[in-house]
Every structure is written in structure tokens, then in C-alpha cells.
Symmetry: C2
Subunit: 379 residues, 2 copies
């Protein structure tokens, strides 16, 4: 296996997820932890039972809190660098499930500042346009509008900046250099920015649980170093694997490479074309060979997307897997199953997105949690 | 002459002001520029005629604007690190004069964020307490409440942050390292902070004139490199010398070293004691020798304070200088003149400070300019 690069801004190469646990110093989600979650939440989310969420920090502490009837809170984020794609469903729908099961407050940070400052050619107006669309997508996925606060950094900064000065004071250039690979040519906005990504972990004195892909882990390592000194809790995390790119498991979906991803805005024809043309196949070179040797679902992206996202029924998934492995199910047929699932999801999603427009104010300003947040100045 | 250190955070050693002009690449205020100011403003402020304001960048451009009847704006700042002392009267009373003469809008930035993040042991609450007292001192010096906006960074950040991301994106770590001597152990808040000190220079599309001691110059060098790219004007500056410390001309007054400074809050007895005990004297070792050889007003801090701040009458100042040089005026007598002037100023100042409490809201929120500023979001 070639060495993979995994940072908050880049994922390249075939990722060895177990090695990431060792490298990052996180822990595997054990059967015992899953058992405790089953007792607390009822049936496990398939992203847990299928090991898509597979790593954590302090998940046991979070479960202790919940078992003792204490409140926790949830935090996740959206980076509006380009249109959202279906890879984003993983953290969002899992977070939604966690909110349903725990009744926890949820904070969703829209990091418009970061995405603008990260690349030279980007214009702020463009980022804001993307951010507004992302917010509709997030709302469409369905969260509790009274218990969820969605905010843009460039707006909520007014309530965060005082606390941000306390956080920033604890982190020096050496640290962000080591953790994020910043250099002398990194701009001073990006150097400051990790402060704001850490900040929502201090929104409550309760324990915070962050569901996110494992590449975001570096932020939380710094947070965990400084939290207690500032009078807060170390943030707990639950880490997912990446949804493989349409073009193969050696990378992450990216809206800037349209062949790798299905965007929320892709229409039915585009979805079909992309899957048929680009979805990396674990099948054989000819139908004859496929019938004889069978396909390999472990590298077949259509199968993996069904497993990660679009086929919640374990029995049905197993059937697809077996049929594919035996050669009974052809690659084109497997792709067709995915296309149907994808389009069913996207058609429904776009309907909910239209309705989401009416809810933006609630999530951002007038919902119970949002109102409380705009009246809270963090010191 | 030993090498002096002059940065925005440190002034040490005997400063060679002409050399600073060469080093910083600024220009001397020429007789021709003074003549133009006389024509525009009437009689020159003594801080100009006595060369306390002695250096500039683009003052000629500012005078062009004013001569053509166009508006400029003024910007200066307060760093609430410790109680204000009479050294702060130099930029403030000169700025007040400029506002009277030009009718310009004035922005006064209170850099509470910087002063908090700069030193490990400082608490934010302490900085805010000092900031609130500083604001009263500033108001007591008398500005136009409809044309002056006083703001704390930690509050006005809400209107500045979007533009701040654009500014920060243009400045990398190499630059702030070279200009401010930042290192790997500088915290990421301080690294970002120059962005906010530059920001008020972009509050208007007009030309900005900054009256400040010359040690603040580095900020404006970066501003001048990036302003036009962002669609704004290069900031013009007019630079003052430092009021010498009470203890001698080799340094700057500092409230954290009480023997070097007279604080706005020092009572009459304290003022007298400090001047008598600490004011560096240019006199001789005995009265006999002094009568015979005379004193040296060029290094006598009591004389210099009269010249810089407390004796506006040129004739009277000349008389004092001649009498001291000839030996007619003794050091103790010279000190007594300063004590009387200082206490007259401070008694009056504290009266105005009491009245200032009623004006805080106006300068910070309800005055014409303040209202406009709270409704302006900089992009």
C-alpha cells in the first residue's frame, strides 16, 4: 500500500483505516461500545453496524454521561468550498440520528471564512452563495429546528471573538505548523482559523461529541490539549471513513472533480450518466468472465455506496453482495440498482430542499436554540 | 549612541529620530509642508512647530486632498494594557486639533484583543476594566461626538470580520515575522491581530491620515503594500517622537513602571513627589555650580515635558529655556513649574472625565458616526 496523505485539506491514496487509528492515537469502536449504544438508542444505525463509523475519542465518556441521564451536545460543520455532494450525507444523517436518540443540542458551523481564505482565487461572494445552498441541503436532511443552531463564522464571530482570543492565546505557530503543516507562506487568517473551528466545542460546559470524517481529527487534538485549562471539557469524537470517490476507493469525493462525486444538484440523467461512466467496477472484463469468476464488491464503488448510504436493509445488501460475488449480478445491473436508489434519494431531497427555504430563519435565528445563541456572548 | 530598539511593543535605548526616518523609509516634515498646513489650518499646533510631529508618509497627498476640498478621515488607537499616562496626550490632543481643523471623521480603535493576547498573565476582565477607563480619558480630551467613533475590537469585530478575512488573506507569516519579529512561539491570535489594526484604514474610501508615535509605523507598511489591491487607499501617517520617560530620554513612558510616567489618575501629591524624585534633571550637582555653568534643557525631562505638552506659549518656553541654560533657573524651580502645569491639567482632566461618563454611549453607539458604523458591515 502506498502511503496515504490524510489532513483536513487533503486525502490522497488508499487509506489504511486501522493505521490511521494508530497514527492519530484514536481508539477503535469496540463491540462493547456498540452494545452500550444499542441499549441506549435501540437498533444501531447501519453506519455503526457496518463499521463506517469505526474510530473514536472518549465515546465511552459520552456514553457514561448519557447512561447517567446527563446532557451532551453535538457539533459538526460544513465547509462551503464547492457544491455539496452525497459524501456529506454520512456525517449529517448520522448526526441527525444521534440528535434523535439523545435529544442533544446540535451546533453546525459553516466555515465560510476558512473556505474563502484557504485559496487565493476564491471570492467571498462565491463562498457565500455556496454556503447558502449548503445550508438548504443541511436543513433538508432534517434536524430539530428548536435544538439546532446553524451559523456562519463571518456572522457569529460577534458572539465568539472574545472567547476566541482566549483560545488563540493558548495555541502558538509551532503547534499549528506541526498539526496542519502550515508554513511561512500560510496567510495569517488561516493561521488564526483553527481557533474558530475549535470554538463550538466550548459552547456548553457539557461534554461535546463530534461526528466527522477522521481527517478532521487534528483540530480536536489541539482542543483536547487546551480545553481543561480554559475550564471546559475535552471534546469527544466519533470518526467515519470516507465515502469512496465514484472513480475508486483511493480518495475522497470532491465537487471540484465532477467525475468523482454525485452532487445534490445533479439531475436524474446526470446521475445515471456519471454512475454508468465513472463508477469504479469490481467486475470482470467480459460478461462471460464475470459469470464465471464473479465480481469483487470490496472495491466496487456502486456496492460500497449502497453499503455506506443507500441500502439500509442488511438482508437485501447481503443478497446483492452474494449475487455480485457469484457472478449472478452483473456490473451494469449493480450500477442500475445504485442509480435508482440515488435518484430516489435526490428527488426526495430536492423536494425537502425547497421546503427548507422556509426554515432557514428558524435554524439560524428564531428557533429556541438559535435565539439563545444570539443572546449569548462567549467570554 | 547605542543602538535603539523601536517596535510597536518595545522602545529601548536613546532614539536617533533622524535615523528612524532612514530606517523606516518615511519622510521628514519639510518647512514647505508646514507652510501648506499653516495656510490650511491657521497657526500651526506647537507639536508641529516644535518638531514633535516630525516624520510622515504621504502627508503631501493628504494636503492635496484638503486643498482640493475633498474629505479625509483620521484614525488612531488606544492599547489598554495599563492605565493611561500623559504620554498619551500627544497623539490624542494633536488628533483633536486635526479634527477641529479638517472636520474629518475620526475612528479610535481600542485594541483590547491585542493587549489581552500579547501577555500570558493578563486576564480579559482586567483589560476590559482598563479599556473602559481609557475610553473615559479619551473622551475627556474632547472630540466631536457626532464625528468620532470609539470602538473595542472585541465588539466591533462583528462588522469587521468579513473584510478582515480579505485583508488577512493578503498577509502571510513571513511578512509578520519580518515586520514584527513574530516567532514560532507567537500565539495565533497575535499573528492574526495586525489584520484588525490595519482594518480601520479601510473604513472609508477616502484617504486616511494616522497620527501616531513612530513605533507604530510597521503596521502601515503592510497596509500600504496591500491597500490598493483591495480597492482602498494607502494610509498616510504623521509620526511623533516619544514623550521621554520621567526618568530620562532613553525610553518611553510606561504605566507599568510608575517612576517613568505620570498617570491620569495620579493625585496632586503623587505628581509632585514623582517629579521631584524621578524627573531626570539637566542641572548641575550643586546650586553653586548650576549658577555658574547653567543647566542643559536638551536632556532635562521637566523642560522637555513643558516643550512637548504643557507650555504652549513659545515666548514663555524660550524664557524658561534661556533662564535654565544660564543658571538663573534652578532644577527644583523648573520642576515646580512642571508640577503646577501638570496638576492644573490633571485636575481639569479629571473633572472632564467625570462628565465623560455621560458621553460614552454617544461616542460608541448613538452619535451620528457611531450609528452609521454599527449599521455598516464591511465586506
Amino acid at each position: 500500500m502506498a502511503d496515504a496523505i490524510v489532513t483536513p485539506w487533503e486525502v490522497k491514496g488508499t487509506v489504511d483505516y486501522d493505521r490511521l487509528i494508530t497514527e492519530f492515537g484514536t481508539s477503535k469502536i469496540t463491540p462493547e461500545l456498540k452494545h452500550r449504544m444499542e441499549k441506549l438508542f435501540g437498533k444501531l444505525h447501519v453506519m455503526l453496524s457496518r463499521d463506517i463509523y469505526y474510530s473514536h475519542r472518549d465515546l465511552d465518556v459520552i456514553l457514561n454521561e448519557l447512561e447517567s441521564g446527563r446532557k451532551i451536545f453535538l457539533y459538526t460543520g460544513v465547509g462551503p468550498s464547492s457544491e455539496m455532494h452525497i459524501g456529506h450525507v454520512i456525517p449529517m444523517s448520522f448526526t441527525k440520528w444521534l440528535q434523535e436518540k439523545t435529544g442533544a443540542n446540535l451546533y453546525i458551523e459553516v466555515t465560510d471564512d476558512e473556505k474563502f481564505m484557504f485559496k487565493k482565487e476564491r471570492k467571498l461572494e462565491e463562498i457565500e452563495r455556496i454556503a447558502d445552498d449548503d445550508i438548504l441541503n443541511v436543513i433538508a436532511l432534517g434536524f430539530d429546528p428548536e435544538k439546532t443552531f446553524i451559523f456562519k463564522d463571518t456572522e457569529y464571530i460577534r458572539n465568539m471573538y472574545r472567547l476566541a482570543t482566549r483560545v488563540a492565546k493558548e495555541v502558538n505557530f509551532s503547534t499549528v505548523k506541526a498539526v496542519f503543516g502550515f508554513t511561512n507562506s500560510t496567510n495569517i487568517g488561516m493561521i488564526f482559523y483553527p481557533t474558530l473551528q475549535m470554538l463550538p466545542t466550548f459552547f456548553e460546559k457539557n461534554y461535546c461529541l463530534i461526528p466527522a470524517a477522521i481527517d478532521q481529527d487534528p483540530y480536536w487534538r489541539i482542543q483536547r490539549d487546551i480545553a481543561e485549562k480554559l475550564g471546559y471539557r475535552k471534546a469527544a469524537q466519533i470518526h467515519s471513513k470516507f465515502v469512496p470517490a465514484l472513480t475508486g476507493i483511493g480518495g475522497k469525493m470532491s465537487a471540484s472533480h465532477p467525475e468523482t462525486a454525485i452532487l445534490f444538484n445533479d439531475d436524474e440523467k446526470t446521475v445515471e450518466k456519471k454512475v454508468m461512466k465513472y463508477a469504479f467496477s469490481g467486475g470482470q472484463e467480459s460478461i462471460e468472465l464475470h459469470r464465471k469468476l464473479g465480481g469483487n464488491p470490496d472495491v466496487d464503488v456502486s456496492f460500497l455506496w449502497l453499503k455506506y448510504l443507500f441500502e439500509p436493509d442488511d438482508k437485501r445488501l447481503k443478497q446483492i453482495e452474494d449475487d455480485y460475488r457469484s457472478g449472478k449480478l452483473l456490473s451494469g445491473e449493480l450500477k442500475q440498482i445504485l442509480v435508482e436508489k440515488l435518484n430516489a434519494f435526490l428527488v426526495e431531497h430536492r423536494k425537502r430542499k425547497e421546503q427548507a427555504r422556509k426554515l432557514v430563519e428558524k435554524f439560524m435565528h428564531t428557533g429556541a436554540l438559535a435565539q439563545k445563541m444570539w443572546n449569548t456572548y462567549y467570554e
